[in-house]
């Protein structure tokens, strides 16, 4: 009888161990493995991208070549849009607009530089957990929960292939994605490959006659008058990771571009001279989990973009001011 009770206790403990959340440290390790897999493996897959209003099929092809991450992402429904990531640039083919947007890569350089790893301060903003999650695409998965510690950012739930750590499914939403998802990606096929042929990472769009719009940095750019703006308030944990001048479609004058990150999500703040016609009404738009909000501040247009709730962006935009002396400085992150 005693032996049976011990067996029962051991069984219950084993089952509990299999389903309970592991330590945050283990979750972090899974995130690091995922980041490394995404950046270093050759793979080709089909997935469904869903938001509250629509669902669309996509194809992704990723190849690592001499330490560079090359990529092709194609919309298989409707628009036929494609994004190609070459060694030096990102090309966005918009056949429905007869336009190709070209942006220099910001991570050009060594593989190590391109390897993103979860920021050390990630756990200050999110609770991390990992547990077993059954099977997806016939593979065992680990489910990593990245739960925000406040309502100013989204949470994530990631289903990672237990063998390769490649993400097979991801859900973005409030909490750790348990509620109404804002956006989700579900792979219906994912093949890890030894080799990806050239043709698979070349665009299928015939861009003859398209307008090519070059964005990004330009050595000839002169610091725009009035540069030196910053948001006075940011959600806790967001830190300035880059600042640059950025050319954008439709304007010969570069925008000041500030990028802040909490280790998972990023917020970009663009500041550019306002139109001669005077201030425009504030505008907002939503693209899955990414939001954008534009408003006028002292004769300039401030546009804030990020994978955070729209309310967060509004708050950031409302705090953007020109800095005394016209030089950029890291803004205060709210305690």
């Amino acid at each position: 009888m005693r032996r049976a009770a011990a067996w029962l206790t051991a069984t219950v403990l084993m089952v509990a161990a299999g389903t309970a959340s592991a330590s945050p440290e283990e979750a972090r390790q899974w995130l690091e493995r995922m980041s490394e897999a995404l950046a270093t493996r050759n793979y080709e897959g089909l997935f469904t991208h869903s938001t509250a209003t629509q669902s669309e099929s996509m194809r992704i092809v990723h190849r690592v070549e001499d330490g560079y991450s090359l990529e092709r992402l194609v919309s298989l429904d409707g628009s036929g849009r494609e994004i190609i990531r070459t060694r030096e640039e990102v090309h966005v083919y918009l056949p429905d607009r007869h336009v190709v947007l070209v942006e220099p890569r910001s991570d050009a350089g060594s593989l190590l530089k391109a390897l993103p790893t979860p920021a050390t301060h990630l756990e200050a903003c999110y609770e991390l957990a990992v547990h077993k999650g059954g099977k997806l695409l016939g593979r065992e998965v680990r489910v990593v929960d990245i739960r925000p510690r406040d309502a100013m950012r989204y949470g994530y739930r990631l289903w990672l292939d237990a063998e390769t750590a490649m993400p097979l499914r991801s859900v973005v939403g409030e909490g750790a994605g348990e509620g109404q998802p804002v956006e989700q990606i579900q792979f219906t096929r994912l093949d890890i490959k030894a080799r990806i042929p050239d043709k698979d990472i070349e665009p299928s769009v015939d861009a003859t006659g398209f307008q090519w719009i070059r964005m990004g940095r330009n050595a000839a750019l002169v610091q725009m008058p009035g540069a030196g703006w910053a948001p006075l308030h940011l959600p806790p944990g967001f830190r300035l990771v880059a600042s640059r001048l950025q050319l954008l479609p439709g304007s010969p004058v570069p925008a000041q571009h500030l990028i802040f990150s909490d280790g998972m999500a990023a917020i970009s703040v663009f500041i550019e001279p306002g139109p001669a016609t005077g201030p425009s009404p504030p505008e907002s738009s939503t693209m899955g989990s990414a939001n954008a909000f534009s408003t006028s501040v002292q004769g300039h247009v401030v546009t804030v973009v990020g994978e955070v709730p729209a309310a967060t962006l509004r708050e950031v935009a409302a705090s953007v001011v020109p800095l005394q002396g016209g030089s950029s400085a890291a803004p205060a992150s709210r305690p």
């Binding site: 919309s75 479609p249 970009s268 139109p275 425009s280 505008e283 989990s289």
Partner: protein
Amino acid sequence: MTDQIREQVSALLDGELPPDEVGLLVRRMERNRELRGAFGRYSLIGETLRAPGGLVASPAFAARVSAAIDAPQGVQPGLRRPAASARARWGRPAFAAAIAASFALIAVIAVQPFAGREAAVVAAHTAAAPSGSALGGEASPTPARSQRLAGYLVAHSQFSSPIVRQNVWSGLLAADPGLSRVSYETVEGP
């Protein structure tokens, strides 16, 4: 002009046209004089039937609407500064208010430079909407506006983590629900 477009014009005047169809219809009206004329006639009929106390608008009313549409650039209509409005600004205002908003809308179309038209359209439209939230309206952005939004996203995504970038790029490639549903917001005046 097809029955479907007639229905859209009628819905616009009744304040019942879905926001994402407003921009399309407005652009169609800009190109199509017959459609603009029909809009004026429908407005006249509506005003005649529903004007308080049975007042009848002047016979030249439709002509004036068309004239407003064709007015040269530079004539700024007097837009009211809109009150904070509900997101559901298309929710059935009184017909007279809808008419007033719609005429303000058309007049603005006629005098705004292209890049600012749709923002002005919705700003004008929301002038007659009931008060509520700060959100003013939604419309299809111009191609230039779409490209600019795409530009912001691409520049931004360079600094996203790989898993987040996959989301951002997928959103950009999708049949742009967000890009075609830009909300133009209005703010409370002093």
